[in-house]
Symmetry: C2
Subunit: 300 residues, 2 copies
């Protein structure tokens, strides 16, 4: 009999992933802190649970898609948490992007205290990839658990790779986010110089993007920047969160990453501009340059 | 009658470009400060001149491919320089990467004092592109001069674009080099974190390069870095030179480019490692990280 699935955390990413799982399986138990987010899934036949523990009671595979270390810890081990009702031989798949060290800690506690397996499986591909079921999944865990998770991964992503033991998925995601954020900086400073020097920005992009300067970022984000579209896509504040995770890991390894550190500072400044009326995508870094780095003070 | 061509500056790039021009035209006058560099071209029928002035006397279009502002100034206006023998209605095409402001200065002096036209036309594509005649040419100048230069560009490049008036070619190159150098930093810090964290670096690259982290750099340089091949290709010291030009231009515009500034510092430190036995390509930035930024002091 195939594993039953529960899905906890119905944010933009989580809801889309849960939707694809429901489509593939025909049944799904879900939980979200704000229950109204579950309404659409409920209308399509999902069972809405009152707590993570209730969701865990319904399933052998429990998927999480949450915002940070503490949210994952709380859902697993807090009041009404998953561990209160874990079934024999359960598997927890954590799609959240959190720190590799916390993933390893959670995995160890689940294995030792509850005989449950854990896979860290952060994704990339954004809200569009989540909706279309074309996410890239970077997994860490035991090969047998990865095999057991395969049908779940197939329902939500176009590719899933086992990068290594628990934590390796998060590490791979950290590497990915470092490369993405710095490549965004490459685009940003290039565009700024082109703009300020009075070049035709569109023509400049056309000239440089086919050569050694070329990147996914230049192909996909630069046209949005030029068109004045700075909204998410992928939130600037999530890039800041991911850079903090990556640099925290580098700190633990004694590895200086000066460019990533600078990017963390720049995203910190950018996010100080955000307010309820303006949401920045990670490609909105250029806004900071256009404002001459005058961020209007640090948030409380 | 079609313009006769002279080519001054037979470095790695210049010699390959001159070779393609000789092939296309059947005749070419050449000059190089070290005359032995002209031997191969001479054997194929090129006329080797004793000075820039002698080369200028032979041609209506004079191509330059030199290392910096001063070298161009000297070849044009110094002793035995091009201007001593400029023919009526000559066109000077400068393939060197120099500062946009110097290009504008040279163009103004040539027009005012010698009634000669000038196009700045820096290239990208490296030694391989120069040899294969597949360079990307970023030109600045008058449209009529650009048309006149077209057959020259076609002999050495796969694409030539007029970016704007004189200086716009250099500005476009500066934008290109900012984007390339920062994208190299993105690769470098990503690879370092992967290495130090114990990930399988080849597998990590395979996972991330198809998504938002993807770039020409990741596709073309990362495999060389992984294989331990840090030689040029494109010299680290030329990237440093180009970053200085780009940042000098940004300074003139009052534009802060903090990430490019950091890259300039990092390339300065990397180039302090170079010695006669070790030459670094611009993708060798990772060497600096592997040495923990201990550069062994600053050069004299």
């Amino acid at each position: 009999m195939s594993d039953r699935i529960a899905f906890i955390g119905l944010g933009i990413m989580g809801e889309a992933m849960a939707s694809n799982l429901l489509e593939a399986r025909g049944e799904l138990s879900v939980f979200n802190r704000s229950p109204e987010k579950a309404a659409k899934l409920e209308a399509r036949g999902a069972k809405v649970c009152a707590s993570p523990a209730e969701a865990a009671a319904d399933a052998e595979i429990i998927c999480l898609c949450l915002s940070n270390d503490n949210a994952v810890k709380d859902v697993l081990f807090g009041e009404g948490g998953v561990v209160q009702n874990l079934r024999y031989n359960s598997l927890i798949i954590d799609f959240s992007t959190i720190s590799p060290s916390m993933s390893r800690e959670f995995a160890a506690a689940l294995k030792h205290d509850y005989k449950a397996a854990f896979i860290d499986a952060p994704v990339s591909g954004g809200d569009i990839g989540a909706k279309q079921g074309t996410l890239t999944i970077m997994a860490g865990g035991d090969p047998s658990d990865f095999e057991r998770a395969r049908s779940v991964f197939e329902a939500i992503g176009k590719s899933a790779t086992l990068a290594g033991p628990v934590g390796a998925g998060q590490l791979t995601k950290a590497v990915n986010q470092i490369v993405v954020s710095i490549t965004v900086a490459a685009m940003t400073e290039g565009l700024m110089l082109a703009e300020k020097a009075g070049l035709d920005v569109v023509k400049t992009l056309e000239i440089i993007r086919g050569g050694a300067a070329g990147s996914w970022t230049l192909d996909n984000y630069a046209p949005r920047v030029v068109a004045g579209d700075l909204g998410p896509g992928f939130h600037a504040r999530n890039m800041l969160k991911d850079l903090r995770i990556a640099i925290g890991e580098a700190d633990d390894l004694g590895l200086p990453l000066p460019v990533s550190e600078l990017l963390k500072s720049l995203y910190t400044a950018l996010c100080a501009h955000e307010n309820p009326d303006v949401e920045f995508g990670n490609h909105a870094l250029i806004e900071l340059y256009r404002k001459g780095f005058m961020t209007g003070g640090v948030k409380d």
